[in-house]
Subunit: 558 residues, 2 copies
Amino acid sequence: MAHKTDIEIAREAKKRPIQEIGAKLGIGPEDLLPYGHDKAKISQSFIDSVQDRPKGKLILVTAINPTPAGEGKTTTTVGLGDGLNRIGRKAAICIREASLGPNFGMKGGAAGGGYAQVVPMEDMNLHFTGDFHAITSAHNLLSAMIDNHIYWGNELDIDQRRIVWRRVMDMNDRALRDIVTSLGGVANGFPGQGGFDITVASEVMAILCLASGLEDLQRRLGDMIVAYRRDRTPVYCRDIKADGAMTVLLRDAMQPNLVQTLENNPAFVHGGPFANIAHGCNSVTATTTALRCADYVVTEAGFGADLGAEKFMNIKCRKAGIAPDAVVVVATCRAMKMNGGVAKEDLGTENVEAIRKGCPNLGRHIANVKGFGVPVVVAINHFVTDTEAEVQAVKDYVAEQGAEAILCKHWAQGGAGIEDLARKVADLADSGSANFAPLYPDAMGLFEKIETVAKRIYHADEVIADKSIRDQLRQWEEQGYGNLPVCMAKTQYSFSTDPNLRGAPTGHTVPIREVRLSAGAGFVVVICGQIMTMPGLPRVPSAEAIRLNGCGLVEGLF
Amino acid sequence: MAHKTDIEIAREAKKRPIQEIGAKLGIGPEDLLPYGHDKAKISQSFIDSVQDRPKGKLILVTAINPTPAGEGKTTTTVGLGDGLNRIGRKAAICIREASLGPNFGMKGGAAGGGYAQVVPMEDMNLHFTGDFHAITSAHNLLSAMIDNHIYWGNELDIDQRRIVWRRVMDMNDRALRDIVTSLGGVANGFPGQGGFDITVASEVMAILCLASGLEDLQRRLGDMIVAYRRDRTPVYCRDIKADGAMTVLLRDAMQPNLVQTLENNPAFVHGGPFANIAHGCNSVTATTTALRCADYVVTEAGFGADLGAEKFMNIKCRKAGIAPDAVVVVATCRAMKMNGGVAKEDLGTENVEAIRKGCPNLGRHIANVKGFGVPVVVAINHFVTDTEAEVQAVKDYVAEQGAEAILCKHWAQGGAGIEDLARKVADLADSGSANFAPLYPDAMGLFEKIETVAKRIYHADEVIADKSIRDQLRQWEEQGYGNLPVCMAKTQYSFSTDPNLRGAPTGHTVPIREVRLSAGAGFVVVICGQIMTMPGLPRVPSAEAIRLNGCGLVEGLF
């Protein structure tokens, strides 16, 4: 089975009409707004109508720190959803939408892999249902209105040096990172410095993913800080009067998208905030709607558990009033070997010793997740080169940590290959053993929150920050933002801020380079290291090979 | 009836499921890709399947030079389509899509007005089916790839001072007209001057609207000139290897959109190129597909007949191998009075003399259209303040020109108010009296083509242009572009290049400010006067009032 490519497998999918997929969750055709025959948005009226239903069980799929070997988090999320359906549980998955721009740089992100995929894959990597375009429009409308406000007299007294609202585009375009705008004379405004981020980095994206509904969306949009005055008082989006029109532009985008897995099970694909300067999870609306339609909802969070699961717990769950009933940590033998010091080209050779050496990375993630009061199980995402001894080494290590590791073959076999994990996860979720609590209370000071994450999750010794950064945090506390959670932006490759430090490092320090207030999204972004918010294209962008073939199919995207 | 607003009337529409509308044209549900329940794209396979069918009759709706009084060209197009269906003819209309950005500046463009509208109006003025977003993405991918090519070594030897490919955004953002990009150091590339146009001004938009299919689309995209080398040889989009990926991004956008009129008749709404620097008509794909599904297709062209109809004939018809069977010139008593010198605030007062004085503007358009060999009828779009004597004055004048003017009350009465015109148009189209020929042959020199349009359509005495412009035209002729038609960009308010010169001026000169080669779209743009390709927002943008009301309906957009 393993010799077919993801795209070949996806093209052979026997997709069912999206109305049939909706019917599995009790969503009637009138509540599905179709986009073609295989995609639909779920109507706002349906979402409103299910608010009082009991919630299903929530399962989070997270992972070890990513390595070039790959760990297969989305693949496992998809597979586990199919596996749960296969063992007779009514399950749905919730994942993020893909950003369009990066697909033209490196080959595109399939949604899952092998026999655990979501389709239609091509659409999902291109315009899909237009959500990201709507976010781009809403974001840039605000940008245009800010400059227009200044152009016509600047009644709000905006300090033009202190405009913090940039522009966005869903494209990898490094030339737009740092620009000067409004050249060319009087009719074009006041020259000033600006720049573009990629759309997924927009605060509007984070807000869309955290808002409980359209009213909350508009309130949060209004709360965004776009600039400061000379006296440092903030100017809000609401002052620019852009919040209403932005909400109109985002109305359709707020409705979650429904698609299907290769096994015709429902998949919610909605929202896609950055996992560093934002919280990296699919939308609250999608997750809470899915929870009211399915008995089990499998979702994932970006990067490894140190970033993704931490934010899922401390930001998304806290804000949305939801809690995971079980957590799956995905690992692979190959990634364990890399953590144990093996080079990528040697991953095909059995090396039990390296696995034992690399496992502490997994162990720390297990312990961290347990610290949130939720039961954990490890999924070993099987690769054909894995040996029995290697798999056993991971299982033994995990058992020593007081958890269980289960071998999963969903990549090669679909839902049939992951039934054991599905049964275990269902048991854990049904057991009621979860007793979720976020890592820190709202009332804790902002710097203390950062320290708490750094020490308890990253196992760092200390957090270092300039006085100006500490002063900034204190000022926000005085302005009433002290109750916000912190959103850590650091490398995803290590528990530390050094991407080359694999395994489970201790004794490191976490230096804070910058802090930013996302007042609408409702978190303080803490930047530790270089974070790129507008990627560039590589020397040979994948776009050069992307084209339609003679049958009208897309080539080169995957 | 007349006291309801357009939006109130549109909201009361009894929309039918889009599959029913498709069925009227023999398009089965499998060939309709739904976007919600009231919009659909028509599948490429359906389009391919009807290529050998006989074509219906094509009716062009054009107008006098627009005045602030309004002439109601789209309203008449929609009304005429409904009228034809009412008298038992199988008719469809073809109009352009609306640009999103400008709706946030001034109140938005409804598609028609009164009881002659296309719905869903809100969607059509917002994201609709995402076509313009796709064009924005495709255009900006090319921009990113050009800068990326230079960043990685500039193998094509592009002269960075001679990059002619700008960026686009569907937003009124004057700050982006003239910018400096790639500041911030080595990683961001080489600083350079750039800028954004609004998406409808993109050559990609013009190409999408002129391409006969996906292959032709990719060929034309490849033909676009993006920059020049030091030796002035052109660098094409194809050299950047962006044409394939751009085609992929535009695949769905190439499929025409189907919606409906208030009377549930089919409306194709597809493409929307600028009517000055481009040809200002809906897509060739939509028009030719409609012609193979309906017996009568009513379409319109931008601005007055001097710009819109001229380009429809000389660019769209020539390129697409189609020809109008009849032309409707829309006029109003109010506009005739304005052309006769009456101020806007006095338009409510009867003034037959002013009408007689203003009618020559209409007369010249009639004669111009006849010059293409097609039969003409005038539609007097009725306003409640029109007096019988005024209407009669227009009718008499038109009769003197050897044509007929018919009073139309579609705005107040829908299709029932325009049956007389519908019958006349059907008779004209069926009569076979049309003997269409474009104004000039392909083989004519570029400057001569400009002179031909200026003299025969604008009735100017001469065309003036600097030597550098004449040299440029000659150079393009030498490079093989001499066979292209010219696309005139001048004010829409006058036959001359002076927007204040109403009526039917003679003896004026047409000064050429600039010429541009749209090698992919296949025309030479001739700029006469100031043409703005990126609008700004007004002091109080309509966006400030746009919001969702308590019922989830959009307020402030219209």
